[in-house]
Amino acid sequence: MNTCFKCRKIVGGYGIGNALLTEERINFLSMIDTEKGIIEDPHHQLSGSSVKGAVLVFPGAIGSSVGAYVIYSLKVNGAAPAAIISTNKADITTASGCAISNIPLVDTLETGSFFAMRSGMEVKVDADSKIVCVTNRTF
């Protein structure tokens, strides 16, 4: 069963993948291996997980302004997320990185949407239609 939520489009496009959720912000420059998309920082909630092909659901980027280039590297290396959902208003690093990498980016989801999402669930991000759908496997 699909549960769909409205959102705000920052970068258009369509992406589908398994949700990778975190409440912790990401310093793309220091935390991610750009070859495989693996989050290497041992202190991060997502340590050891890969963003490759996933729908990354996170509060935003911190730290280095070069993070935008890291997102682009992930894309060129085939290790980028299928889409990104920002749980806060999207930040400049993530927005600019997604813009040149054609990674769909949305934010400002309807209230309640994050309660419906768990890591591993299939999420479809249709940024152009401003819709995010979660396939709830427990139904």
Binding site: L29, V66, D91, A95, A99
Partner: protein, 378 residues
């Protein structure tokens, strides 16, 4: 994408500005006076960044004064780096030259170039420069990314949003340390705490001092830039502000996380790159002494040549200091695990990236203590 056809780069630039405009809810673009771009070091942008800039620079030229961040090494020194690194790094430098930027290779443009009048809108990537310029110089900039500042450099415009607007330049939360701050390292640790704790555009910092000197303000700015997304600090206190207290224990926790070694094989100074006032201080601290460890000092070439005329370079080199221009401690390929188990620095920003990216142990101490412990009278 990015075939280098005429106008293609401009289209990419507007795509970036549109996305960040959407994200920050800007209604329009406004002209800016200066762009400062990050994404210059091959260690940070990699092969895809090299190729992107090569294509981008074929059809784009900067429309306003544009300065650029440090690269990976000193172009006038022979360093032991792979041919691949050197070639890729020089390709990046060529692309920025083609774009018409001033190849300043500095992360402290605010200590080198003339500053536009207060209230001028600029576009600064490089987080320490954005935070310092907003907080100390009264310039208006968002925490731009390397790509958004690049887009603004060739369009001459930036979305009118967040820290460009007065209403976002006031703190809702003020961080107040409940202990005495003394050294630049204390300010760095406070900044790291504040940047992580507060997620607004602007943080209040009440550290008791009337006017922060430049060295402490740099350390505070760089650390705020490292741990969070905030782009400005202010001293001003409103009546409705929430106060977050920063205690000794919080600072000890942060220091324990960043201070991963008891000692180091090398002293590294300069993240951000040192300015003239820091070189004056360093020269005074080691006057008549000899450093007992290798000490690399990172500064911009423009600062180095001024310091040379002032006799500072001779004095510091006489004590055993080594200078590296065009580059910075952060993400330099010159400091790796293969060569150094651990290093000593006074910079919280350097400590973070040396630990996380260079994978080198770090011993954090303030400059005076480092020079007291690591320099002996001849």
């Amino acid at each position: 994408m990015l075939r280098g056809e005429r106008g293609e780069s401009l289209a990419v630039a507007y795509r970036i500005l549109l996305a960040i405009g959407e994200a920050t809810e800007a209604e329009r673009l406004i002209p800016i006076k200066w762009a400062h771009i990050s994404g210059v070091n091959y260690n940070t942008i990699g092969d895809s960044g090299v190729d992107f800039l090569e294509e981008f620079s074929k059809s784009a030229r900067v429309a306003i004064r544009t300065t650029i961040n440090p690269m990976g090494f000193d172009q006038n020194k022979t360093v032991n780096l792979s041919e691949n690194f050197t070639q890729k790094q020089m390709s990046i430098a060529r692309s920025y030259h083609m774009l018409g930027t001033t190849t300043s290779f500095t992360c402290v443009p605010y200590e080198i170039f003339d500053i536009p009048e207060k209230g001028s809108a600029v576009s600064f990537a490089e987080s320490n420069a954005a935070v310092f310029s907003n907080s100390i110089l009264g310039l208006l900039t968002n925490r731009e990314s390397g790509l958004s500042a690049l887009a603004s450099s060739i369009t001459g415009k930036s979305p009118y949003s967040n820290l460009l607007m007065d209403k976002f330049r006031h703190a809702k939360v003020t961080v107040k340390p409940d202990y005495e701050l003394a050294t630049e390292l204390d300010y760095g640790l406070l900044g790291y705490f504040a940047g992580n704790a507060v997620r607004d555009n602007c943080i209040g910092i009440n550290a008791g001092e009337e006017k922060l000197d430049t060295i402490k303000a740099k350390a505070l700015s760089a650390a705020i830039g490292t741990s969070g997304s905030c782009g400005m600090f202010t001293k001003e206190e409103g009546t409705k502000q929430e106060i977050i207290s920063c205690g000794k224990e919080e600072v000890i926790t942060i220091k324990d996380e960043l201070n991963t070694a008891e000692d180091g094989d090398l002293i590294t100074l300069g993240s951000p790159q040192l300015g003239l006032n820091e070189l004056h201080l360093l020269a005074a601290l080691i006057e008549g002494k000899r450093l007992t460890k290798r000490c690399i000092i990172f500064c911009a070439r423009a600062i180095h040549s001024q310091a040379e005329h002032l006799g500072l370079i001779d004095r510091i080199e006489h004590a055993g200091g080594e200078f590296m221009c065009d580059s910075c401690t952060c993400l330099t390929p010159l400091i790796t695990r293969a060569d150094f188990d651990s290093v000593i620095t006074n910079s919280v920003k350097a400590a973070y990236y040396l630990n996380h990216s260079n994978r080198v142990g770090v011993c954090l101490k303030d400059l005076k203590t480092i020079m007291k412990e690591c320099a002996d009278y001849n």
